[in-house]
């Protein structure tokens, strides 16, 4: 079988792994080999499914002794099988990298013979790239659950990122669809990576020469929509993984049909929007200070697919709003729908020198459709019919200036503890008089 044929089979088999990130690890050029990484990932191309190509994503082999129902490579699947030699992968990686097609390698594999044997093969590839070719590009290696700790330790010294796939949200799902996999074994592997990384990171604070261990941390992936697990199950699971193992990312991949799939699985793909909403929920947990319970509470275990989870939370919590963008602390503003964390930080910088008006938000590309009813700016109060405060009314810059200046004291006082309904008319009056200049 030619390298070209193997590449077709083993890239095709690798496409179900969602992760393609190449960020999080800095590596300067070493002068002896090709490759460096400035810590920001680069997407070198995009495929018609809208995903990026950052890494050469391959399986070492798609032979597998496991029989995970949701996986195209499971032993019972009648697909074409192939196996790369470690040297073939090394050459392919270097050749692609030299032409600037890729940021590095993401290597995974079916389980052949035993977890240890498989992991040894993967480590061999990374080791050859680093030690023989002094390759400085990004390497992501799949940690085979249940392999020997020494192999994980070796893998972590060569790879930027390790990932052990959790596969399915619950142990019950695993029993049903991935009989050879156990959540405890997968978590054991994650825990070992986590402990080892902690150990070495701590050593490095004392000895500068301590080698880095998986500098881009570890991630995992779970298939969603192959089992009836709820969004709450999934989010709780992810939250636990972030807390226990300090994972950098949890990737969600909507189940999609593939050749020779098992008849127990749905024939149609899980809706992509569900995956999208789960990613939004995930970001809310990692960057916006939301707890899993807030996003999918017990009485509403499924996310509303029609709106983003932050807006859904806001609708459940009217008592939290409106938020005054000129005075509210960061963590409060982070909860405003339509307002991203980059814009929150921008607003914090800007408002020290300039009182924000609604038009400013438009300039910052805040999604006003969602945000307008939850925020207060100098010229805007949600739910006020008064034309003066309607977001569509164009105020003259002069009027806005007056409003900004005149309101400063008022808003300081009345918004120390805002959002009591009784205070709002009072505020509106004050604002109006400030604008018209008539007391």
């Amino acid at each position: 079988m030619t390298v070209q044929q193997k590449l077709e089979i083993l890239a095709d088999a690798a496409k179900y792994d969602a992760s393609c990130a190449s960020s999080g690890a800095k590596r300067s050029g070493n002068g002896k080999g090709i490759g460096h990484s400035d810590g920001n990932g680069i997407c070198h191309s995009y495929t018609p499914d809208g995903r990026c190509i950052s890494l050469l994503k391959l399986l070492l082999t798609n032979f597998c002794t496991y029989d995970c129902v949701f996986c195209v490579n499971r032993v019972s699947s009648d697909i074409r099988r192939a196996r790369f030699t470690p040297e073939e992968i090394v050459t392919l990686t270097l050749d692609f990298y030299k032409r600037n097609y890729i940021e590095g390698l993401f290597l995974s594999s079916g389980i052949i013979q035993s977890p240890d044997y498989t992991m040894e093969q993967l480590v061999q590839v990374a080791k050859t790239l680093r030690l023989v070719h002094h390759f400085g590009g990004y390497i992501h290696i799949k940690a085979i659950p249940g392999c020997a700790p020494r192999l994980l330790e070796e893998a972590g010294t060569y790879a930027d990122r390790l990932s052990a796939n959790i596969e399915l949200p619950t142990q019950a799902d695993l029993v049903q669809l991935a009989p050879e996999k156990k959540a405890t074994v997968i978590e054991g592997t994650m825990a070992h990576i986590h402990d080892r990384k902690n150990e070495l990171d701590e050593d490095r604070t004392r000895f500068n020469s301590t080698p880095k261990f998986a500098p881009a941390g570890q991630s995992t992936q779970m298939v969603i929509g192959a089992t009836p697990s709820t969004d709450r199950d999934i989010i709780q699971r992810a939250s636990g993984l972030y807390q226990n193992f300090k994972l950098r990312r949890v990737y969600y991949t909507g189940f999609s049909p593939y050749p020779e799939a098992d008849t127990r699985l749905p024939l149609k793909a899980s809706p992509m929007v569900r995956e999208h909403r789960l990613y939004q929920a995930d970001w809310l947990m990692r960057h916006y200070g939301f707890a899993a319970d807030e996003i999918a509470p017990e009485d509403q275990p499924e996310l509303d697919l029609s709106i983003d989870p932050k807006l859904a939370w806001a609708r459940r919590h009217p008592e939290f709003f409106p938020v005054d963008l000129n005075t509210a602390p960061r963590e409060t503003m982070l909860r405003v729908p339509g307002l991203g964390y980059a814009n929150v930080d921008r607003i914090l910088r800007i408002r020290r020198y300039h009182k924000l008006v609604l038009a400013d938000l438009r300039k910052l590309h805040v999604r006003l459709k969602d945000a307008a009813e939850y925020v207060i700016t100098v010229d805007h109060l949600p739910g006020q019919a008064d034309a003066l405060f309607s977001p569509t009314t164009a105020l003259s810059p002069a009027a806005v200036e007056i409003a900004a200046g005149g309101l400063e004291r008022v808003s300081m006082k009345s918004f120390a503890h805002p959002v009591q309904a009784a205070q709002l008319p009072l505020f509106a009056e004050a604002a109006k008089s400030a604008v018209t200049g008539v007391l």
Partner: protein, 483 residues
């Protein structure tokens, strides 16, 4: 450099270079020219003079330094850094924007922090576009290899949206430090030779100076067309990340029309294959106990083998057995009588078991496939090896049996059983007789199928194969004793 004044507006031509503007801006500032009174025009863009009427080019008005040379404009670091980036933009109005900001900065030193200010946000937009263009260049440059007498070198032709070559080039110097490479663009070119160790910038060179192909592109295109999931087409997102303006230099993009066209067909094919897949899974009862399983087995229609076989042949042996032997499939006699290992191969197996010290009646014997597969030759039913799909279709039965028995040791007899439980890559003759941890039992091992002994081409071979079988079974007994 030249300048002219019409209607009170002084116009100066600025070369596409930050330092050129900086020099002019400083002089204009010293002359206290307000932003409305000066027009910094882009030298590279032909001037439409009609707006100002005929412009008579006067010699460098601004060079006369009639202003106060000691008057140095205040600039913040935030302004300077961003101005240098914005200067790389092709927007001809950037110079005037920068001067306006410079002017306003004198009376409002915190101006740069007001990101919603019209001028500041215009500048930030330019900066953002420059950074994006730089990032895209790092991503979309495609080198092609050329081998000459000096060895291999890599050359790329690239068309950046803005004049970012000097900004983007150091990235490649660090990344490809040990390679000889060049990037050619319509604005200029850059070369790197590891022996020299510094970037060398040169004149613009057109695409004919770069190689027109590279053999690796075939592999790259195969990768590109294999790695995406046709079930999740989303070309709009693809285009937003990889705008069409960059496409002309990306070899993989040539494939797009055909990939998009074929994608739907590929998905349908996947789904139709999925629904045709043979499996016994729907016929296996949820309760995994031997009596329940054996009762349900005759009703299996998981694959086509049931159509021609006489009957299904379930496993046989004590429910308390701690060793399970897994063969391939029932033979002619087994098929007629409904019991496993009662033909000639069964005889060999019983003999070997006895010699190895394992009483045959203490082990559980079953098969990877539960129906006999054969071809008719006259009146003789000739054994046929089961296909992988048939082994896999039948696997749920085997797994259910193992689950019911929970044995300490599973012994796979021959390649078919090994395929079922150890996977397609298992090399029987290399790895037979090795105990391995397993999810089906504490340990699993594989050995030769007794019928392989019978098929040996001569006595010596048969003798060797039989010894292997017996020795492996002896190992199994030793393991059981120690366990």
């Amino acid at each position: 450099m030249s300048s002219s004044t019409v209607n009170g507006v002084t116009r100066v031509m600025v070369a596409p270079d930050f330092d050129a503007w900086r020099q002019l801006a400083r002089v204009a500032f010293q002359q206290r020219l307000e932003p409305d009174a000066i027009d910094f025009a882009d030298e590279t863009i032909p001037v439409a003079d009609d707006l100002f009427g005929a412009v008579s080019t006067k010699t460098a008005l601004l060079n006369e330094l009639s202003g106060n040379a000691a008057l140095v404009p205040y600039v913040s670091k935030a302004f300077l850094e961003r101005a240098q980036l914005a200067a790389l933009h092709r927007d001809p109005s950037r110079w005037n924007l920068l001067y306006r900001l410079l002017w306003r900065l004198q009376s409002n030193r915190e101006l740069m922090r007001v990101e919603v200010d019209a001028d500041v946000s215009a500048m930030l937009r330019l900066v953002q576009q420059i950074k994006r263009d730089e990032h895209k260049m790092h991503a979309f440059v495609r080198f092609r290899k050329l081998t000459d007498e000096a060895g291999e070198q890599f050359i790329a032709w690239y068309e950046p949206a803005h004049r970012i070559l000097p900004l983007a080039a150091p990235f490649f110097a660090e990344r490809f430090a040990i390679m000889r490479w060049s990037i050619l663009t319509p604005d200029g070119s850059v070369f790197w030779d590891p022996a020299v160790g510094t970037l060398q910038f040169g004149p613009p060179l057109d695409r004919s100076h770069a190689p027109s192909e590279d053999e690796l592109e075939t592999l790259w295109k195969s990768y590109y067309s294999s790695i995406f999931n046709p079930a999740r087409l989303n070309p709009d997102v693809m285009r937003s990340h990889m705008p069409v303006k960059y496409w002309s230099n990306l070899p993989e993009v040539e494939l797009l029309p055909s990939l998009l066209q074929k994608a739907e067909g590929r998905v349908e094919l996947m789904v139709s294959k999925q629904s045709d897949k043979p499996t016994a899974a729907p016929f296996v009862p949820a309760e995994h106990s031997l009596p329940v399983l054996n009762q349900a087995m005759p009703g299996c229609r998981g694959c086509e083998l049931y159509e021609h076989a006489t009957q299904v042949v379930p496993g046989r042996g004590p429910g308390t057995a701690q060793i399970v032997l897994v063969g391939e499939q029932p033979g002619d006699q087994e098929d007629r009588r409904g019991e496993p290992f009662i033909g000639p191969a069964g005889g060999v197996l019983r003999k070997a078991l006895g010699e190895a010290g394992l009483p045959p009646e203490t082990v559980y014997m079953t098969n990877a496939v539960k129906h006999f597969k054969f071809v008719l030759r006259g009146k003789v039913r000739l054994h046929q090896n089961p296909r992988v799909s048939e082994i896999m279709a039948c696997r749920p039965w085997l797994l259910a049996e193992l689950d019911a028995l929970k044995p300490k040791l599973v012994v796979c007899l021959g390649a078919s059983a090994s395929k079922s439980l150890l996977g397609g890559t298992f090399a029987l003759m290399r790895d037979r007789g090795k105990l391995m941890p397993s999810s089906f039992a504490d340990q699993i091992m594989a050995t030769i199928h007794p019928s392989a002994v019978l098929r040996g081409k001569d006595d010596a071979t048969r003798e060797t194969l039989y010894r292997h079988l017996r020795d492996d079974l002896q190992l199994a007994r030793q393991y059981m004793q120690s366990a």
